[in-house]
């Protein structure tokens, strides 16, 4: 080692010794950074876990998936309900016939309701759909069958239950063939949907019941209009082609000139995915910045303690200067102390943050995702905070006049 690196190393040791001499204060100072870094890690983990889960859910819709909503306007990109739905079942059938890029079409309505079995009852989401709906959603049945075209036409009182509904109404699992009542209308259970599992968003997809849309409109809701049309394109790379064809057909049927405001709106899986990722990015940024503020507060804590420490050790600084320490030696000593404090705090914070994330995943059941990126970011940030907030007190120390410092009481 040459003389200047040797001296640098020795001055580093002086800074480290000061930390170990005042363990209680050092750990309290570190606590701010520990909490800040742990917050960043945990918040970013929750944020990115949530967005991964959302993406997974949306991807599960299938890449051919398109939804058509009625009563939409293009005003500022915001969807506005015009009160009355404008889509009919005939529109849905027309799409199937007239759009070559469309494979499956299902009209749909959604409502909620109480399902009553012999002595149990369960509130759930009730979906009215057409026969191709399971094909569009790529959702198979575990028991029984889905309803047929004839049953849809006839408005049959048949229902297919999600696994959660079965679990709650038929604890013994024997659902198919039983009679349940929805809004006082008796329905026969003809099938059970396969469990989707992994309800990543805390939203249970299996908590649903599906009936023919005709039955739902007539018996359960009393509306002549449908609420949504589900479509799947013939192939993922023909989604936009399908959307163009759908647009053309619907405009023609609704007598809307090209370029005029449409009274329906389409969303492909890709579009839903991108708007959701936009949303989760906003969420992550929000969580991240809350955490960053706490890290900043931790940094101010370090600055505060270092300022106190410089004042307390004015005499020591004077002695060091009298015997030959230059301003930069004193600066480095205090800067190292601050950096060491914040890096140690950062390390502990990373471990704590990862631990907390695991606990959140375990007990709250939220999806979390501790990324290497956030660990490096938080760690680097805490080191930077040490430098930034340690610099001012260290500089203050280095600018002291040795005579004044020696005289300081």
């Amino acid at each position: 080692m040459n003389s200047s690196t040797l001296r640098l190393w020795n001055i580093t040791k002086v800074g480290l010794k000061a930390i170990s001499r005042n363990k209680m204060r050092s750990s309290l100072t570190m606590l701010g950074i520990v909490i800040g870094v742990a917050c960043v890690i945990a918040m970013v983990a929750v944020g990115s876990g949530a967005s991964k889960a959302i993406q997974a859910n949306i991807n599960a819709l299938g890449s051919n998936f398109i939804m058509i909503f009625p009563g939409a306007s293009t005003t500022g990109g915001a969807r506005i309900f015009t009160g009355q739905s404008t889509l009919t079942a005939d529109d849905a059938s027309a799409l199937k016939v007239e759009c070559p890029a469309v494979r499956y079409v299902s009209a749909g309505v959604r409502t909620g309701g109480q399902i009553v079995a012999a002595e149990l009852n369960w509130g759930t989401q009730i979906m009215g759909s057409d026969v191709e709906w399971p094909l569009i959603r790529e959702w198979n049945l575990s028991q029984g069958e889905f309803f047929t075209e004839a049953e849809v036409k006839a408005g049959a009182k048949a229902v297919v239950l999600g696994q959660t509904v079965v679990d709650n109404l038929f604890p013994n699992g024997e659902a198919v063939g039983q009679i349940v009542r929805i809004k006082n209308v008796p329905f026969r259970v003809i099938g059970v949907l396969e469990q989707k599992g992994g309800n990543q968003m805390g939203q249970d997809q299996d908590d649903t019941a599906v009936v023919p849309y005709t039955t739902a409109m007539k018996r359960l809701m009393g509306t002549p209009r449908i609420g949504i049309i589900y479509v799947s394109a013939v192939a993922p790379d023909r989604v936009s082609e399908a959307m163009e064809q759908i647009d053309g057909v619907l405009r023609q049927r609704q007598r809307i000139p090209p370029g005029g405001d449409a009274n329906f709106m389409m969303r492909s899986q890709e579009e839903i995915a991108s708007s959701a990722s936009q949303m989760s990015k906003t969420l992550s940024t929000l969580l991240g910045s809350v955490a960053a503020i706490s890290l900043l507060v931790g940094g101010i804590g370090i600055m505060n303690i270092m300022l106190v420490s410089v004042t307390e050790r004015t005499r020591e600084i004077g002695v060091r200067m009298a015997i030959g320490a230059k301003g930069r030696h004193v600066l480095l000593q205090f800067l190292f102390e601050a950096i060491a404090l914040s890096i140690a705090g950062g390390l502990i914070g990373v471990l704590l943050g990862a631990g907390v994330s695991k606990l959140i995943a375990k007990f709250a059941g939220w999806p979390v995702d501790v990324s290497m990126g956030s660990v490096l970011l938080a760690f680097g940030f805490s080191a930077a905070i040490g430098i930034f907030f340690g610099f001012y007190p260290a500089r203050k120390a280095s600018m002291l006049d040795p005579i004044d410092a020696l005289r300081y009481e």
């Binding site: 200067m321 009298a322 015997i323 320490a325």
Partner: protein, 239 residues
């Protein structure tokens, strides 16, 4: 070594306090040779500490020149003065000024931390041990200042001032915080160091202490009032 370790000409130090000027030094010319033991005396506020700060390169004179070891140091900047203090001057203070919760060995080694030398840890320890032995504190290397008596603490400070083998040792009231017996012991140590060739300048209020020097300089109102050599009173070996 040249004959004159210290040579000042017309040192003036003016402190500006708002509208009023305080002339702490009003033209001090002083020559101190190699191997002298000088006591500087004077009433409170006469400018002794101000002179000492300038001789110790802690401060710069407002005007006048100061040659230390033949080199003009009156115009040096902060960093250059730090180097001079580190290599040429040993300080001993009234209140010892040791680092708390720091062992004797580390306190004595401290100046080496800031010196240009490339000593390895082992050599630093060796030199510090030698200095500690020289002030009669062998065996106390691991003690903290709080575990030492005032006299012992001042010995540690003297060992620290010796570590870089400086041209002069400056002591500002080194016995001011000590009882008379301990003061005598410290003076005996200074005399011993001086016998071995160290140039020592000490400030004191006490006549008894000053009598142990070979030369006494009286300061009044920032000027030298008298400067006389006399027969040194030897301290009987009490160590």
């Amino acid at each position: 070594m040249r004959d004159h370790v210290i040579e000042t000409r017309d040192l003036v130090k003016v402190y500006q306090m708002g509208d009023t000027e305080v002339r702490a030094l009003a033209g001090v010319s002083l020559v101190i040779g190699q191997g002298e033991l000088v006591a500087i005396m004077g009433a409170s506020g006469s400018g002794k500490s101000t002179l000492m700060n300038i001789l110790g390169c802690l401060d710069r004179p407002t005007s006048g020149t100061y040659l230390l070891d033949g080199v003009d140091v009156s115009g040096l900047d902060r960093n250059a003065r730090a180097d001079v203090r580190n290599s040429k001057i040993g300080f001993v203070f009234q209140s010892f000024n040791l680092l708390a919760r720091t062992s004797t060995l580390e306190n004595v080694e401290l100046p080496l931390l800031y010196s240009e030398s490339t000593l390895q840890q082992r050599e630093r320890h060796e030199r510090a041990r030698a200095a500690i032995a020289r002030v009669g504190l062998d065996g106390r290397e691991g003690h903290y200042p709080s575990q030492l008596s005032g006299g012992q603490q001042q010995r540690v400070a003297i060992a620290r001032s010796l570590i870089n083998d400086p041209a002069i040792i400056l002591a500002d009231e080194p016995t001011g915080n000590l009882d008379s017996v301990t003061s005598e012991e410290i003076m005996a140590l200074f005399q011993e160091l001086n016998d071995n060739g160290k140039t020592i300048i000490l400030i004191t209020h006490e006549h008894d202490i000053a009598q142990h020097a070979k030369r006494i300089v009286h300061v009044k109102d920032g000027r030298i009032l008298s400067d006389e050599r006399h027969e040194q009173v030897r301290v009987r070996g009490t160590r």
